[in-house]
C-alpha cells in the first residue's frame, strides 16, 4: 500500500459511551457492538464491549454515567455499510432478573472531529398483555434475537417497540485517505474557508506573495 495510491481508507473512532438517561431504572450496564458492511474490517480495537454497572448518583438523579471508552479503527474500501454502533442496555428488574432496558444504534459520524450523539433507546414489546404480564413476572422480557437487528431496517415491521431512555455517546473521528479515494466528507463550510485565501490571492495578498 503505497502512500500515493492507497487502496483502503481508515476510520479511527475514539470516544466513549458517556452515560444514559433512564428515568425509571437504576443499576444498568450496557453492551456495545459494531455493525458494518462487507467492505469493512476492524484493524484494531475492541469490536464489542460490556460496561460496568452504574447506579444513579445522588446529585444527578436522572443520570447514569458509564464513561466507557470506545476505541476502534476500521479500514474499508467502500463507504457502503458505514459502521454503526449498537448499544444495548441491561439492568435488573424488580425481582432482580437481568432484563434488557433498551436497544439503540447510530452511525459513526462521517466527518472528522468531535461529535456527541444521543441515541433514543427502545425495547421490543410483548405480543400480548398476558405475555407482558408473564414476562414481567418471570423476568423474561422479549429481546431481539440479535442486538444487531436494530442496525438494520429489514424485518423491523414485524416488531413493536416502546421507547425507554437515552444513551449519550461522544466520538472523536479521524479519517485517513478518504479524500484520496474520492470521498469528501468534510462539511461544505470548511471548503469555503479554504477557497477564501485562494480568492484573496489575487488581491493584496498577491503582493505579499510576490515579496
Amino acid at each position: 500500500m503505497t502512500a500515493n495510491s492507497p487502496s483502503v481508507f481508515l476510520l479511527m473512532i475514539n470516544g466513549q459511551i458517556e452515560g444514559a438517561n433512564f428515568p425509571e431504572y437504576d443499576d444498568l450496564y450496557c453492551k456495545y457492538c459494531f455493525v458494518y458492511g462487507h467492505d469493512w474490517a476492524p484493524t484494531s480495537g475492541l469490536e464489542e464491549g460490556i460496561s460496568q454497572i452504574t447506579s444513579k448518583g445522588r446529585d444527578s438523579p436522572h443520570r447514569l454515567v458509564w464513561n466507557f471508552p470506545l476505541e476502534i479503527t476500521f479500514k474499508s474500501t467502500n463507504p457502503l455499510g458505514w459502521p454503526q454502533i449498537v448499544v444495548s442496555v441491561y439492568g435488573p428488574d424488580t425481582f432482580g432478573n437481568d432484563v434488557v432496558r433498551g436497544y439503540g444504534a447510530t452511525h459513526i459520524p462521517i466527518t472528522p472531529g468531535q461529535h456527541t450523539r444521543t441515541i433514543p433507546m427502545f425495547v421490543p414489546e410483548s405480543t400480548s398483555r398476558l405475555q407482558k404480564f408473564t414476562s414481567w413476572l418471570l423476568g423474561r422480557r422479549p429481546e431481539f434475537t440479535d442486538p444487531k437487528v436494530v442496525a438494520q431496517g429489514e424485518g423491523r415491521e414485524v416488531t413493536r417497540v416502546s421507547s425507554q431512555g437515552f444513551v449519550t455517546l461522544s466520538f472523536n473521528i479521524v479519517t485517513k485517505d478518504m479524500k484520496r479515494l474520492g470521498y469528501d466528507t468534510t462539511a461544505t463550510e470548511t471548503t469555503h474557508t479554504h477557497t477564501h485565501p485562494v480568492a484573496a490571492g489575487f488581491g493584496p495578498g498577491n503582493q505579499t506573495l510576490s515579496m
Partner: protein, 1694 residues
C-alpha cells in the same frame, strides 16, 4: 377644517387631563411589562419605584382624573357626535384618543382584566421586559430608575432605544412584507389604538402583528419625509417628534432640538404641571405641541379619509402609526375604546378589501391580446382535444378571477378560453360498476370459482423464443349480419332486398363513376387528336405523327366502347331499379299492406334543354364522325386491299385465260356468254384443277346513313334523351310499414314467426367454441346487429376462425351457415382492421304455410304462377378479425417467423401498422403517406408516427422510444450506464447486492477499479457458461450429467424463491419471547423444584438454542458420544476351514426363523479359540479425524466423548448455508491388529517388534444436515458392513448371553450406539412460510390443513403428512402419488418362480437409485416429492421418492402396501413402506432395500405417524408410536383416524403418477466402460494417497476378485463370503489378505472415492504390501447402476 381651533382647545384640555393621569399610565406600563395584569398594589409599587417625584397620595389624583376624564369624555363625545355630522372624518381621531383614555381607565379599574385588547405601552418601555434584547437597546430598567431625576435623560435614552430598534428592525426585516398582515393591521386599526398596536405587537412577542409594525416602519421614512415637507409648508414647523426620532443623526440639529423639546413635553406633562421643571418653556412648547397635535390629527383625518375611500394609500395610515410609535415615547398615552363600526361601513370597507368574482361571462375581448381576434384551432382543422366538462359558472368565475391578476391573460389561449388539456377521462369505464353491495348482488351475477383445467391436448403451442410468453390476442368483432334472403321473407321482402342490392350496386357504381371518367378521357383524346391535326393544318403529317394519331384513334375507339358499355350498364341498372320499385309498388297495392320500409325517390335534375340537346347532338355527331372516319379508313384499306387482290387475280386470270385458249382451241365449242361461262368454268376448273385466288369482291361503300342512325339509336338506348332530366334514385328505409293488425292472416302469421326468431353467432377457434354472441331477435328488416367484440387470448396457433350463424326458434336452434374468417395477417391490428362482409348461404329447405316465401322453394310473383324462381337463404355477415394491441402498443400477434407455410407471406411487424397503414416500412413512403393522408400532428393517436417522421426527417436515430417519468434521472446517475457495465468494481458490487452465490459474502470490494482482477469473475463466469454446456467428463455418464444439470436448475429456481422468502420476517425471527407457560409447564416447573439435584440417572437437558448468524469459526463443535457396539465381526484365523453353511437362498420364513438353525450350526469351538477383535472407532468430519481407544471383543463398550471442530463453508453461518452443507460424518469401526514382526536374528526372542494395522470393519455415515435439523441423534445404528470381510467372520457368541441373543439374532450386521449433537445447539431454519399454489380443491386443502393441525395438537411427536409439494412447487394431496406401477419386466422375469426373490430384487433395485436428501439440494426449503417417472429420470431422490416407487411396485405386484410416514434413525422424519403378507407386516426401508419384521428390535423406524394408501390417509391415534407396540389394522377406527371418512368422502382424486413406467434398456457397453473408468480413477487415487510408498498391484488377486464381484451382485451380497474366501485362500495361501467389497449405488465418482478413502485401506504402511482392486458395475434397467468395489491388501507371510 372649520372646527380646528375648537379642536385644538379641546386637545389642550385633554392633554392637561392626561398629565394628571400619568400615574395611571405608569401603572399600566408596569402591567404590560409583565404581560399579566398585576395587582393594584403591585402596580402601585412599581409606579412608585419608577417615579420618585410623585407624591404618595397619587392614587387619589388618578381616581379623580379618571372621573374627570369620564365626564370630559362624555361631554366631548356628545360634541363630537354633533361634529361628526358635518365633518365625519374628524371624529375618528377623537374617538381614538378618547378611547385610549377610557381604556386606561378601564384597566386601572378592573385590575384582573387582561390587558391584551388594548394594552398600552411604549416600545421603549416594552423593551425592558419582553422584547428580546436588541444589540443597541441601551435603556435598561436600572438606568431609567437611577436617572429618573432627569426625565430628559430618560427620554433620550428611550428615544434612542426606539430609534435603534426601528433601525435594526428596518435593517433586519426590511424585506419582510405581508399584504395579509397589512390588511390585518388595517383591520386592527379600528379596535386598537396606535400605541397599542406597537406595544401589542411587541408584547405578543413577535406574533402576527410584528411584521405589520415593521412594515409600517419600513414605509415610514418616506412618509415622514413627505410629512415634514407638508407640515413645514403648512405650519412652518416640523413635526418635531418624528423628525427627532428618526433623523436625529441624519439631519440638522434644529429639528432635533425642537423634537427634543416636544418630546420632553410629551413624555412628562404631569411633571410640567406638578413640578414645573422647565417652567419657562412650557407654554411655548405647549402651544407648539398643540399645533403639532392638530396637524397630526389633521393628517390622521386625511389618512383615515383616504383609507376609507380607497385602501390603496396604506402608507398614510402606517405613517401615522409610526408617528404614534414615536409619540409613544413613554409618557404620552392615548387610549381608545373598542369601537363599533356600522354595518354599512363594514360592508363598504369589506368591499374594498374583498373581491367577489362575478359569474358573468367575460367578454372575449378582454381575454385575448388586444387587436386580436379569437382564433379557433378546430376551425383551422387542427386537432384539439375535448376539454374536460366544467360548469359555465365556475368557468366564468375562474376567468374573472384570473383576469383580476396581473398577467392573467397568459392563462388564456388563442381562442379566448382558458387553456386546458384534453379531457383525460376515458369515455367508458374500464371496470363495470358494481351497484350492489356484495351481499345483495344478484345471485345470477355471483361469481363462482372454478378450478382451471389443464387440457391434455393443448398441442401446437405458439413456440416463442421465451421472451414474450405467448401473450397473443385475437379480437373478433362481430358487428352484424344482413339477410339477403331468408325463408321468412315475404314477396315484398324478396323484391325489397333485390332493390337494395341494385341500389347498392348503383351506389357503388356511382361512387366509382367510371362513365364520367371514361367520358372525360374520351374527350381528352379527341381534343388531342384535334389539336394535332389543327397544328399541322394541311401540312403533310410525318409518319410518326400519323402513327401517333392512329394510335390515339385506336384508343378513342376502345374508350368509347368501354364508355358505351358502362353507360349501358348504368342505364339498365337504373331501369332495373325503377322496374323493381314499380313491382314493389304494384305488389304493395295488390296485397294492400306494406312490409318493407323501402321507398325509392327518383330525384330529377333538370337540365337546360337547349345545351343538353346541343351536347347530345355534338356527341352523336362526334361519334358519327369518328365512325365515319373509321369506316372511311376501313373502306380505304379494304379498297386498297381489294385492288391488290384484284391485281393478283387478274394476273392469275390472264394466265388462266391463256390456258383456256389452248383448251378452247381443242374444244372450240361455246363462245356465248363468254365471260360468265368463263367465269363459271374457271371456277369450276379452279376447283377442279388448281385453286387460284378467289375473285375479290369490291368492298361495300360505307353506309353513312346507317351509321348515323345506328349511333343515334344506340345513344337513345344507353343514354338519357336530350332534355330529359337526370334521374337519381334515392332509396330510403323510412317508409311506413303496415301495422300488424291491418295485415291479412297469412302476413300476420309470418310476422309473428319473424318475431319469434332470433339469431346468434358462435365463434369457433380451431374448431373449439370460444364464445358466442347474445341472442338477437330478427327484425322485420332482417338485419341483425351484434356489435360484440370477443378477445381471444390464444395459446395455440390459429388454424381456423369460424363463425356459425344460428337461428333460434323457441328452444330449438338451427345452424344456418358456417362462415369462415381468414386468419388475419399479423400486421392487421385492432383499430385499423377493416370490417369485412362475408357472404354466407344455406341450402336448407324451409317451407311455410303462410306468406313467407321460404327457402329452396319455388315461388312466383305472378298471379298465374309463371316465372317461378327459387331462392336460398343467404346473407352477409360483417365482421373483422384482427390482432389485439397490448397496453404498451405492442401488437399481440405471434411472430411471423413461425415456419408456417400458410403464413409465409406475412410481413415484418411494424409499428406504423398500428395506425392503419400496414406494410409501410420505407420511411420515404411513410412520409408520403403521412402527407397524403393529412395526419393531424396534434392528434395523440398520431403521436407515434409524427415522432417517427420527425426522426426520419431529421436523421436522428436515437429517438427515445420510451416515456420516462424521471426525466432528471440521467442527471442523478453518477456514472453513465456504460461505465457501470464496464467497470469491474461496479459489477462486483452489483453482483454482491444481488446475492449471487459466489459473491454473497465477498469481503472488501477494492476501492479502485484497477484492483479488481478478472479472476474474481472467473468462477462465476464459468458457472454461467456451464449452465449451458454440459460437462460430461466430470460425470462419466452423459445421462447423469443431464440430470445433474436439470437438478441444478430446479435447485437454482427454488433457492431463488427461498432467498426472496428469506427476506420475509416474522416476529420470532427478530424478537425472542418466552411462551406463556401453560398450567402443565408451571406444574412441571414446580415439580422440578423437588427434584434431586444429582439424580442417579441423569438425563440430557434441553439446551438453549443459538441462532447461527452471530457465530464464527470455532464456536461450533460437534459432540459425539460413542457408547458401544454389538456384533462386530471377529477375526478368523487363516486356517483352511470347510464352509460351514452355504446358503444360496433365503426366504422370509427362513429369515425369521434363521436364528435357531444358525446357532445350531455354528461351531462351538469359537469359544475356545479365543478369537478376538480389538475394535476402535474413528470419526472423521471435514477431514478432521478423531478416534477412540481400543476395546476388546465383538461387543465393545467405549463410552467416549469426541469433540470435532466445525467450520461452515466460507465462514457463512447463516441458516441457509448450514442447511445446504453436504458434509457427512463418517464413523468407521476398525480392528486394531497387532502383528509381531520377527526381530533381527540375535534379538529374536528378546525383543518383539509389533506393527499395528487397522482393518476396516464397517462404517456409519450421517449427514451433517440430519444432525443440524434434529439437533441431536441418539440411538443404535446399523453399521454398514461389507458383505464379505476377508479374514473376519460374523459370529455370534451363543453361550455368553443366551436370552438377549434370542431377540437380536434375527438381524444380521453390527450395530453401534451413538449420541451426536452440536454444541451449542443451533436453531434449524424454518421451512419456507409460503403458501404454495395448488390445483387441489379448496375444501380438500382446508380439510388437510385441519387434519394436520389436529394431529400436531394432539400428537405433536407424530409426523403427519396429507399434502406435499411437487417438483413444480405446487401442493398436491399425498394419495395421488400412490398408484400401481409396473416394475421393470426383467426384474420380474429374473425369478419367475419365487415371488420373494422378485420382491427382494425390486427392493434392491429401488435402493440402488442414489439417495439425495432434498434438504441438501433444496436447502431447508421443503420436501419436494417427485413422481416416479421424474424420480427415475432424475435418478436421485429422497426417502419418500424411494418409498413411493417401492410402494407402487408392490401395489402392482398385488401386495397390500402402505406408506409409513414416521421417524427413523438416523434419517429423522422419513417414509417407509409397509406390506402385509403371510399374515405379517413387513417394514421396508426403501433406501437400503432392507426389510424388517414388525417386531424387529433393530428396525430403524422409531415412530409411525400415519399410513398412506392410494385412497386414504390414517393417523395413528394409538397410545404408542413404536412399530413394535402398535397394530397396523387400519380398519379399526379407534386406532387409526382416517382422513376421508363417511363425512368427508374421497372425491376420487386422480393420480399424478403416469399410467405406466417406461424403462430404457440398459446399455451394457456403457456400464463396462464406466467400470473401467472407475477402476482407473480409484487406482490413481490410491496411489495418490500413498505418496511416500510405492503401490504395487497384485494382478492375480485382482483378477480373482473381479471374478467374484458378479457373483456378489447376483446373490446381492449374501452368504458368499465363505465360498470365495476359500477360493482365495487356496489361491493365495501365503498371503495374508484383508479386504472387502464395497457396494454403492452409482451417482457420481466422488462418493465412491470418498467411500474408498474412508476405509483406510491405503494406509497400510508395510513395505511388502500389495493391493488388489476390482470394480464391477452392474446395470439395471433405466440406467440404475450398482457399483461394486473390491478392495484388498495383501501381505506376504513368511
Amino acid at each position: 377644517m372649520a372646527s380646528s381651533s375648537d379642536l385644538r382647545e379641546k386637545l389642550r384640555k385633554k392633554r392637561r387631563a392626561l398629565q394628571h393621569s400619568l400615574q395611571v399610565k405608569d401603572d399600566v406600563d408596569a402591567d404590560t411589562q409583565a404581560l399579566v395584569p398585576t395587582d393594584r398594589s403591585q402596580s402601585k409599587e412599581t409606579a412608585q419605584r419608577d417615579m420618585e417625584e410623585l407624591t404618595a397620595g397619587e392614587e387619589e389624583p388618578g381616581d379623580t382624573l379618571r372621573r374627570n376624564l369620564k365626564a370630559q369624555r362624555l361631554r366631548r363625545r356628545r360634541k363630537l357626535e354633533e361634529a361628526s355630522v358635518d365633518d365625519k372624518s374628524m371624529v375618528e381621531p377623537f374617538h381614538e384618543t378618547v378611547g385610549e383614555v377610557t381604556a386606561v381607565q378601564q384597566i386601572s379599574q378592573s385590575d384582573e382584566k387582561p390587558v391584551e385588547p388594548c394594552v398600552v405601552s411604549s416600545p421603549a418601555q416594552s423593551q425592558r421586559g419582553d422584547l428580546p434584547p436588541r444589540p443597541q437597546a441601551k435603556p435598561v430598567p436600572g438606568s431609567s430608575h437611577s436617572e429618573s431625576s432627569t426625565m430628559r435623560q430618560r427620554m433620550k435614552d428611550k428615544l434612542k432605544a426606539a430609534r435603534s430598534k426601528a433601525e435594526s428592525l428596518l435593517q433586519q426585516e426590511a424585506s419582510q412584507d405581508g399584504p395579509a398582515s397589512r390588511l390585518q393591521s388595517l383591520k386592527d386599526r379600528h379596535t386598537l389604538t396606535r400605541f397599542d398596536r406597537e406595544t401589542d405587537a411587541d408584547l405578543r412577542g413577535g406574533g402576527d402583528d410584528h411584521p405589520s409594525s415593521l412594515n409600517v416602519k419600513v414605509k415610514f421614512r418616506e412618509a415622514v419625509r413627505r410629512v415634514r415637507v407638508d407640515s413645514k409648508s403648512e405650519m412652518g414647523l416640523p413635526t418635531a417628534e418624528e423628525a427627532y426620532n428618526f433623523f436625529t443623526f441624519d439631519f440638522d440639529p434644529e429639528p432635533d432640538e425642537e423634537t427634543r423639546k416636544g418630546q420632553k413635553r410629551r413624555t412628562r406633562p404631569e411633571g410640567e404641571n406638578e413640578e414645573g421643571e422647565d417652567g419657562g418653556d412650557d407654554d411655548e412648547e405647549k402651544e407648539e405641541e398643540d399645533k403639532e397635535e392638530v396637524t397630526e390629527v389633521d393628517r390622521e383625518h386625511q389618512g383615515e379619509d383616504e383609507e376609507r375611500d380607497d385602501n390603496a394609500p396604506l402608507m398614510r395610515d402606517e405613517e401615522e402609526e409610526l408617528f404614534l410609535i414615536d409619540q409613544s415615547a413613554d409618557d404620552f398615552l392615548v387610549f381608545k375604546r373598542a369601537e363599533y363600526m356600522g354595518y354599512q361601513r363594514r360592508l363598504q370597507s369589506e368591499n374594498e378589501l374583498l373581491f367577489t368574482p362575478s359569474f358573468l361571462t367575460v367578454p372575449a375581448s378582454s381575454k385575448v391580446p388586444e387587436n386580436m381576434k379569437p382564433r379557433y384551432l378546430e376551425e383551422e382543422g387542427l386537432y384539439v382535444g375535448e376539454r374536460p366538462p366544467m360548469s359555465l359558472t365556475n368557468q366564468n368565475i375562474l376567468e374573472n378571477r384570473i383576469l383580476k391578476q396581473e398577467q392573467g391573460r397568459k392563462w388564456f389561449g388563442d381562442d379566448g378560453r382558458i387553456m386546458a388539456l384534453p379531457d383525460p377521462i376515458k369515455e367508458s369505464s374500464t371496470r363495470p360498476p358494481l351497484f350492489h353491495i356484495e351481499d345483495d348482488l344478484d345471485p345470477a351475477l355471483q361469481t363462482v370459482y372454478r378450478k382451471a383445467l389443464v387440457s391434455k391436448h393443448a398441442s401446437q403451442y405458439i413456440s416463442v423464443g421465451g421472451e414474450t410468453n405467448g401473450d397473443y390476442q385475437l379480437d373478433v368483432d362481430v358487428s352484424g349480419l344482413i339477410f339477403s334472403h331468408h325463408p321468412l321473407f315475404s314477396q315484398e321482402h324478396v323484391l325489397g332486398s333485390r332493390l337494395v342490392q341494385l341500389y347498392d350496386q348503383h351506389l357503388s357504381r356511382q361512387h366509382r363513376n367510371l362513365t364520367e371518367h371514361l367520358t372525360t378521357k374520351l374527350n381528352g383524346l379527341r381534343n388531342t387528336i384535334g389539336n394535332m391535326l389543327e397544328v399541322h393544318g394541311g401540312q403533310r403529317l410525318t409518319p410518326v405523327m400519323q402513327q401517333r394519331i392512329s394510335e390515339y384513334k385506336q384508343e378513342v375507339r376502345n374508350t368509347r366502347r368501354l364508355r358505351d358499355l358502362e353507360q349501358e350498364k348504368d342505364r339498365t341498372l337504373l331501369k332495373g331499379i325503377v322496374k323493381i320499385w314499380k313491382e314493389i309498388k304494384a305488389l304493395r297495392d295488390f296485397q294492400r299492406f306494406t312490409n318493407t320500409p323501402y321507398k325509392l325517390y327518383l330525384r330529377r335534375e333538370e337540365v337546360e334543354r337547349a345545351s343538353d340537346v346541343r351536347e347530345y347532338e355534338a356527341e352523336i355527331q362526334a361519334e358519327v364522325d369518328e365512325l365515319l372516319d373509321e369506316m372511311e379508313e376501313d373502306y380505304q384499306r379494304k379498297v386498297t386491299e381489294y385492288r391488290r387482290q384484284q391485281e393478283e387475280w387478274k394476273v392469275w386470270r390472264r394466265k388462266q385465260r391463256a390456258k383456256n385458249k389452248k383448251k378452247k382451241k381443242t374444244q372450240s365449242q361455246l363462245d356465248d356468254n363468254e365471260d360468265d361461262e368463263d367465269n363459271d368454268d374457271d371456277d369450276r376448273t379452279d376447283g377442279e384443277a388448281e385453286p387460284g385466288p378467289p375473285k375479290p369482291k369490291p368492298p361495300e361503300e360505307p353506309d353513312m346513313e346507317g351509321v348515323e342512325k345506328q349511333v343515334s339509336e344506340k345513344a337513345s338506348r344507353i343514354r338519357r334523351k336530350p332534355g330529359e332530366p337526370i334521374l337519381v334514385p334515392e332509396l330510403t328505409a323510412s317508409g311506413p310499414i303496415t301495422p300488424n293488425e291491418q295485415c291479412p292472416r297469412g302476413e300476420f302469421a309470418r310476422r309473428e314467426d319473424v318475431a319469434k326468431r332470433s339469431i346468434f353467432i358462435k365463434v369457433l377457434y380451431n374448431d373449439k367454441e370460444v364464445s358466442r354472441t347474445d341472442n338477437r331477435s330478427l327484425n322485420s328488416d332482417f338485419r341483425v346487429h351484434f356489435g360484440q367484440i370477443f378477445n381471444l387470448k390464444i395459446v395455440n396457433w390459429p388454424e381456423s376462425i369460424k363463425l356459425q350463424v344460428f337461428e333460434v326458434l323457441g328452444l330449438s336452434t338451427t345452424l344456418l351457415a358456417d362462415v369462415f374468417v381468414p386468419v388475419p395477417e399479423s400486421s392487421i391490428l385492432t383499430g385499423s382492421a377493416p370490417s369485412e362482409e362475408l357472404v354466407f348461404s344455406s341450402n336448407l329447405r324451409v317451407m311455410f304455410d303462410h306468406e313467407a316465401v321460404g327457402s329452396d322453394v319455388p315461388f312466383s310473383f305472378e298471379v298465374d304462377g309463371s316465372n317461378r324462381q327459387t331462392l336460398l337463404t343467404s346473407g352477409k355477415l360483417s365482421c373483422s378479425v384482427s390482432w389485439a394491441v397490448g397496453e404498451d402498443d405492442v401488437p399481440l400477434a405471434p411472430p411471423t417467423t413461425q415456419p408456417k407455410p400458410m403464413y409465409s407471406g406475412l410481413k415484418q411487424l411494424d409499428a406504423i401498422a398500428s395506425i392503419g397503414a400496414s406494410g409501410l416500412n420505407d420511411m420515404k413512403k411513410l412520409g408520403e403517406w403521412a402527407t397524403e393522408s393529412r395526419l393531424d400532428p396534434n392528434d395523440p393517436n398520431n403521436a407515434d408516427i409524427m415522432q417517427l417522421l420527425k426522426v426520419a426527417s431529421s436523421g436522428e436515430v436515437t429517438a427515445p422510444d420510451y416515456f420516462r417519468l424521471e426525466q432528471l434521472q440521467e442527471e442523478f446517475n453518477f456514472v453513465s450506464e456504460e461505465d457501470l457495465e464496464q467497470s469491474r468494481r461496479f459489477r462486483l458490487l452489483r453482483l454482491r447486492n444481488q446475492e449471487v452465490a459466489e459473491f454473497r459474502n465477498y469481503k472488501f470490494v477494492p476501492a479502485m477499479e484497477r484492483e479488481v482482477t478478472d479472476k474474481v469473475f472467473e468462477e462465476y463466469e464459468r458457472r454461467l457458461k456451464e449452465g449451458e454446456i454440459v460437462d460430461t467428463k466430470g460425470h462419466l455418464d452423459a445421462h447423469r450429467a443431464l440430470v445433474a444439470k436439470h437438478l441444478h436448475k430446479i435447485r437454482e429456481s427454488i433457492i431463488n424463491r427461498f432467498l426472496i422468502a428469506k427476506h420475509h420476517f416474522i416476529m420470532s425471527d427478530l424478537v425472542q419471547e418466552e411462551q406463556v407457560p401453560t398450567i402443565g409447564i408451571l406444574g412441571l416447573n414446580l415439580f422440578k423444584l423437588a427434584e434431586p439435584k444429582r439424580p442417579l440417572k441423569p438425563q440430557r437437558k434441553e439446551r438453549k438454542k443459538v441462532t447461527a448468524q452471530n457465530l464464527s469459526d470455532g464456536d461450533i463443535r460437534l459432540l459425539l458420544n460413542i457408547i458401544r457396539a454389538y456384533d462386530i465381526p471377529v477375526r478368523k484365523p487363516s486356517v483352511n476351514k470347510p464352509a460351514v453353511t452355504s446358503k444360496s437362498t433365503r426366504s422370509f420364513t427362513e429369515t425369521l426363523t434363521a436364528g435357531q438353525s444358525q446357532r445350531a450350526t455354528q461351531g462351538s469351538d469359537w469359544l475356545l479359540n479365543q478369537v478376538q477383535v480389538r475394535p476402535f472407532v474413528e470419526v472423521s468430519f471435514q477431514r478432521s479425524v478423531l478416534q477412540t481407544t481400543t476395546a476388546d471383543g465383538p461387543n465393545p463398550c467405549w463410552n467416549e466423548d469426541l469433540q470435532l471442530p466445525f467450520s461452515a463453508p466460507n465462514g457463512d453461518y447463516s441458516t441457509a448455508n448450514l442447511q445446504s452443507m453436504k458434509d457427512e460424518i463418517f464413523i468407521n469401526i476398525f480392528d486394531e491388529v497387532q502383528y509381531e514382526l520377527g526381530g533381527d536374528g540375535e534379538d529374536r526372542g528378546k525383543e518383539v517388534h509389533t506393527r499395528l494395522e487397522k482393518h476396516w470393519l464397517g462404517s456409519v455415515k450421517i449427514p451433517f444436515s440430519t444432525i443440524y435439523f434434529q439437533s441431536r441423534i441418539d440411538g443404535t445404528f446399523k453399521v454398514d458392513t461389507p458383505p464379505v470381510l476377508l479374514g473376519y467372520s460374523k459370529e455370534r457368541s451363543l453361550a455368553s448371553d443366551g436370552g438377549y441373543d434370542a431377540v437380536r439374532s434375527l438381524t444380521e450386521g453390527a450395530f453401534i450406539t451413538l449420541f451426536i449433537t452440536i454444541e451449542p445447539q443451533l436453531v434449524p431454519g424454518e421451512t419456507i412460510r409460503e403458501k404454495f399454489e395448488s390445483q387441489e380443491s379448496e375444501g380438500l386443502l382446508l380439510a388437510s390443513e385441519v387434519f394436520e393441525r389436529d394431529a400436531a395438537v394432539h400428537f405433536p411427536d407424530r409426523p403427519c403428512l396429507t399434502t406435499v409439494i411437487n417438483i413444480n412447487g405446487k401442493t398436491v394431496f399425498i394419495t395421488r402419488y400412490l398408484r400401481p406401477l409396473n416394475p421393470p419386466q426383467e426384474l420380474l422375469d429374473a425369478f419367475p418362480n419365487s415371488p420373494q426373490e422378485a420382491t427382494d430384487l425390486i427392493a434392491r433395485y429401488v435402493s440402488l437409485i442414489p439417495s439425495l436428501p432434498d434438504s441438501v439440494s433444496f436447502a431447508g426449503v421443503c420436501d419436494l416429492w417427485s413422481t416416479c417417472d421424474q424420480f427415475l429420470t432424475l435418478l436421485a431422490g429422497d426417502e419418500e421418492e424411494h418409498a413411493v416407487l417401492l410402494c407402487n411396485y408392490f401395489l402392482s405386484m398385488g401386495k397390500k402396501a402402505w406408506l409409513i410416514i414416521g421417524t427413523a434413525i438416523p434419517e429423522g422424519p422419513t417414509t417407509y413402506v409397509l406390506t402385509y403378507e403371510q399374515n405379517r407386516y413387513l417394514i421396508w426401508n426403501p433406501s437400503s432395500g432392507q426389510y424388517y419384521g414388525q417386531y424387529d428390535t433393530f428396525c430403524p423406524l422409531q415412530t409411525v405417524g400415519c399410513l398412506v394408501s392410494a385412497d386414504n390417509v390414517w393417523l395413528n391415534t394409538q397410545a404408542y408410536t413404536s412399530p413394535l407396540r402398535i397394530r397396523f389394522d387400519v380398519t379399526k377406527a379407534k386406532l387409526w383416524k382416517p382422513f376421508f371418512s363417511r363425512a368427508f368422502p374421497n372425491p376420487g382424486l386422480s393420480s399424478v403418477q403416469p399410467e405406466e413406467l417406461v424403462y430404457r434398456h440398459t446399455d451394457q457397453a456403457a456400464a463396462a466402460e464406466l467400470q473401467d473408468r472407475i477402476e482407473k480413477i480409484l487406482k490413481e487415487k490410491i496411489m495418490e494417497w500413498r505418496p511416500r510408498n510405492p503401490t504395487r498391484w497384485n494382478r492375480y488377486c485382482t483378477s480373482t476378485l473381479r471374478h467374484f464381484l458378479p457373483k456378489l451382485e447376483l446373490s446381492r451380497g449374501r452368504d458368499v463370503a465363505d465360498e470365495h474366501r476359500l477360493e482365495l485362500q487356496s489361491l493365495l495361501g501365503d498371503y495374508r489378505i484383508s479386504g472387502f467389497p464395497l457396494h454403492l449405488p452409482f451417482s457420481e465418482v466422488r462418493p465412491i472415492v470418498e467411500a474408498v478413502y474412508s476405509t483406510g485401506v491405503h494406509n497400510v504402511e508395510a513395505s511388502n504390501v500389495e493391493f488388489a482392486l476390482a470394480v464391477h458395475v452392474h446395470a439395471y434397467p433405466n440406467n440404475v447402476l450398482s457399483v461394486w468395489v473390491y478392495l484388498a491388501s495383501l501381505i506376504r507371510m513368511r
